[in-house]
Symmetry: none
Subunit: 130 residues, 4 copies
């Protein structure tokens, strides 16, 4: 199952609604099941440095098919897979990247950046279930 | 003047409407006045190879503040600026990238790829005036 | 439909059989439907410089879902899409990259490099139908 | 001594047999004595993010002619060679990369990724002796 543009736009809108609700402008990336960009929106006043962070979060979540913070457990200095963050052109292991499920099946991935990590996580959560 | 997300989404929708009308699935990139990604949509069945082409068209148009085909006049083998296409991480000089004007003022840039060049140009045109 | 490892290995073997028959050592790349490496073999004495060429051919074929020589028509100096070869991290527009069809459906892509272009094309052809 | 394609395929098959036995789909990379890709297989359902990790493990093992976990001792924060992991386009210092010996002589290198680190190590071990 691979996300359609209509579904991606719905996920994007759910994320924007949450971002507006908690008053933080973010970048929202939706990639498909194998990581190709499907939809994107940069809210007005979102940080320019967060565009690439949102892209990397969506990519990291796709590559390992899990939440970015779960990947992050392997990346910390002292963790057993230290160095992993240098593979695949760079991985990001903090919250804000998640699988998008449609009727319980993974169909794509969302990456959010622009707020505090807990805010990004909240917004990604809002866009992750259709 | 810099394009807002609402305006970018309007340009994006105008482009999609034209693409649907002429039956060709494309990638649509909107960048702001300084080239940062603002909005993106990949229509279902659009070629994966066209994502990067659409990005490069929007970037090329932004860098020189003109239509991509006007930049292209400088890039052909034999043209005086041959080699220019290797600058800025790669330039693309065929139609499908255009300034977006709002009330006659340039506010962002659109890049389209996925169809024949004349189709991409038509779709870019449709999304270039708000 | 996405190629399985067993199917990829069959395509790879068909290509090797043809390469042995016409006595030219090549690199054989099989990527899946969205371009991720699935199987690879470098025949003994195949040129080291051809590893990357085979990868780029498989990628180019995947990105536009056509034979690489069909993409090549757009890349020539003087062609309308001149500059296209600089997108997507580099494209290759000469023969040796092809879709792999299984019961008539595209399931992956093959890239061959190491021989003359006509030899690469012949070997790619041999591996392109299961 | 440099690994032949027939030998690389045998190492690859030994690794796959072990992976099937312990029920974990992995990516298997075989590089020759100087690090050029010789053979590759991605088992069905292996993580896409593990392709690059397997490549990096094989490369790291080749560059220092030792198991990746032995290289890892030098890479940890606090270790004397901290920063080493940024050389050579990125090094990986956890288990899953090993020299392949044929009759006791190093002839190539194997890199495995897709399972837990101990599983990857077990599978690399299985493919490391001909």
């Amino acid at each position: 199952m691979n996300i359609s543009l209509q579904q991606a736009n719905q996920a994007l809108q759910q994320a924007i609604d949450k971002a507006v609700e908690i008053s933080v402008p973010v970048n929202i990336v939706i990639v498909d099941n194998t990581g190709y960009l499907k939809a994107f929106a940069r809210m007005d006043d979102a940080l320019l440095g967060s565009i690439d962070i949102a892209l990397q979060k969506a990519k990291t979540s796709m590559l390992f098919r899990m939440d970015t913070e779960a990947v992050g457990d392997f990346l910390q200095p002292g963790a057993k897979a230290y160095g992993l963050e240098l593979t695949n052109g760079g991985l990001l292991g903090f919250a804000g990247g998640k699988p998008i499920t449609i009727n319980g099946q993974v169909a794509g991935f969302i990456g959010i950046s622009g707020g505090a990590i807990t805010q990004d996580a909240q917004i990604a959560q809002a866009g992750s279930k259709l």
